[in-house]
């Protein structure tokens, strides 16, 4: 019999405590970010999709078309093409395509890039109307980014 009342009172008390906690939080300020109106700044190491880095001296990409990123990529989403201009010693980059639909944002390409020609973009609001919108031409993106 004492167990019965004990159950009753401890149970009621536990319920009341719960109500108290939620009421306390009811009056506390909200912690959420009002997303479309406010946005977060991404941390410096944020791994978005990749972008080409511009060489400040030449105004061109730092890429030496070694193809290491292409080889390192587990999903095969990078296609690098270069051409050897006449008179030049090294190949220069002609196109750098990222198929973002396959990319898993692992960062192995950036890690394997010797000349640090690629970096992570800070874009995270990626939305597009079609699959094709996710095949990025990174050379074009680099040019757009640099010409304000």
């Amino acid at each position: 019999m004492s167990g019965y009342f004990n159950d009753l009172f401890s149970g009621t008390k536990s319920l009341a405590v719960g109500m108290g906690i939620t009421l306390k939080y009811f009056f506390e300020p909200v912690v959420t970010l009002q997303y479309p109106h406010e946005t977060l700044k991404m941390t410096p190491r944020f791994r978005g999709h990749i972008d080409l880095v511009k060489d400040e001296e030449t105004g061109e990409s730092k890429c030496i078309v070694c193809g290491m990123c292409q080889k390192a990529c587990p999903s095969g989403c990078i296609t690098v093409e270069g051409e050897k201009k006449e008179g030049a010693k090294k190949k220069t980059l002609s196109s750098y395509t990222l198929d973002f639909t396959k990319c898993s944002l692992c960062g192995l390409c950036v890690e394997n890039c010797k000349p640090e020609a690629i970096t992570f973009s800070k874009d995270y609001n990626l939305a597009g109307p079609s699959r094709e919108a996710y095949v990025f031409d990174l050379v074009k993106r680099m040019k757009e980014r640099c010409s304000p």
Partner: protein, 342 residues
């Protein structure tokens, strides 16, 4: 001519009641979302209108424009009638609820009984809807709803009978008249029974269970039965179910207000010569709505605090705690009334 005014009066009340029920359903959803959000430290609806106040409108338009899907193998007539079976009795119950001294559609002598009689139709709605939609989750949900309602109708009715014994009438307006100020509210009427607050609690718990509200929402337990009896309903079929649910919550809270919290009476009482404070004390509807919505707030608050009960826990609570205590209270009240009033 008297006939016509009577007819018009009836019509006006009918329209008023339906509008009240619909508005309540819409804005209780808003309140529920807002309150849940703030309990969880979010903001909740805020885009449509100031503070998201037009959100229910947007929701309503969305529900109305959605296609009504009748699942294959369903019993079409029963499937379509079921939502109405939940809403119609609730609206009918509003007829006898006194919003203020004069604002009551039909001041029926058996008002309390009438509400219980109509509330008992509710189960039929869930049952038929669940059975008619040819879905196993819905059938399980219907079975749960019935056992739950049967189990909780008993303590609820016993408590209601206790209140009728104390009040000596089933006319809701007269019950309110007997509680002119806060000390005479039945919840604090210790001369009738020292267990009155407990009786209020029991009544409140039972009305939660009767209206399938959390933590007793086992009939629509979303993590177990998807949406229970409402699984197959889309668009306005679901909307009407929803309106009925909220209308029932309002009825339950109104009844608790009337039986225990003095209905439309001001907690301070109305002094006989209080002209200056007419606005503060007199408008009964204001007090009624304040009490009503405070109870609704509590209902929602409870929902967002507790996990769902399990079936045996529910029946245990009813049979081991609520029924014995309410029976004891009935006996005690009877004895106390005999001692103090004769």
């Amino acid at each position: 001519m008297g006939n016509y005014t009577e007819l018009l009066r009836l019509l006006a009340y009918l329209v008023g009641i339906i509008a009240f029920a619909a508005l309540n359903a819409a804005y209780l959803v808003w309140l529920e979302r807002k309150e849940a959000a703030h309990i969880q430290r979010r903001i909740g609806p805020k885009e449509v209108g100031p503070y998201g106040l037009l959100q229910p409108l947007a929701d309503g338009i969305k529900l109305m424009t959605k296609q009504l899907i009748v699942p294959a193998g369903a019993d079409v007539i029963l499937f379509k009638v079921a939502p109405l079976l939940i809403l119609a009795p609730a609206i009918a119950s509003f007829v006898t609820i006194p919003f203020s001294e004069t604002l009551v559609a039909r001041n029926i002598n058996l008002g309390l009984l009438m509400i219980f009689a109509f509330a008992s139709l509710n189960v039929m709605g869930v049952l038929i809807g669940g059975w008619g939609s040819n879905n196993k989750y819905a059938v399980i949900s219907a079975a749960r709803a019935v056992s739950q309602n049967v189990a909780y109708e008993i303590p609820m009715l016993i408590t209601a009978i206790t209140m009728v014994m104390v009040a000596g009438t089933m006319n809701l307006n007269e019950i309110v008249m007997q509680q002119p100020n806060i000390f005479k509210w039945y919840i604090f009427r210790f001369t009738a029974s020292p267990l009155m607050p407990v009786a209020f609690l029991i009544f409140f718990i039972c009305s939660l269970a009767e209206t399938n509200r959390a933590p007793f929402d086992m009939a629509e337990a979303e993590s177990e039965l998807v949406a229970g009896a409402y699984t197959e309903y889309s668009g306005m079929g679901f909307g009407v179910f929803f309106m009925g649910e909220y209308a029932n919550v309002v009825i339950g809270c109104s009844l608790a207000t009337i039986l225990f919290l003095g209905g439309w009476q001001s907690p301070f009482g109305v002094p006989a010569d209080a002209h200056w404070s007419l606005f503060l004390f007199k408008p009964g509807i204001l007090w009624f709505l304040i009490k009503l919505y405070l109870l609704c707030f509590t209902v929602i608050w409870v929902r967002w605090t507790y996990p769902r009960t399990q079936f045996y826990g529910l029946l245990n609570l009813s049979w081991k705690y609520l029924i014995p205590i309410s029976l004891f209270n009935l006996l005690l009240t009877g004895a106390m009334l005999k001692v103090f009033q004769s």
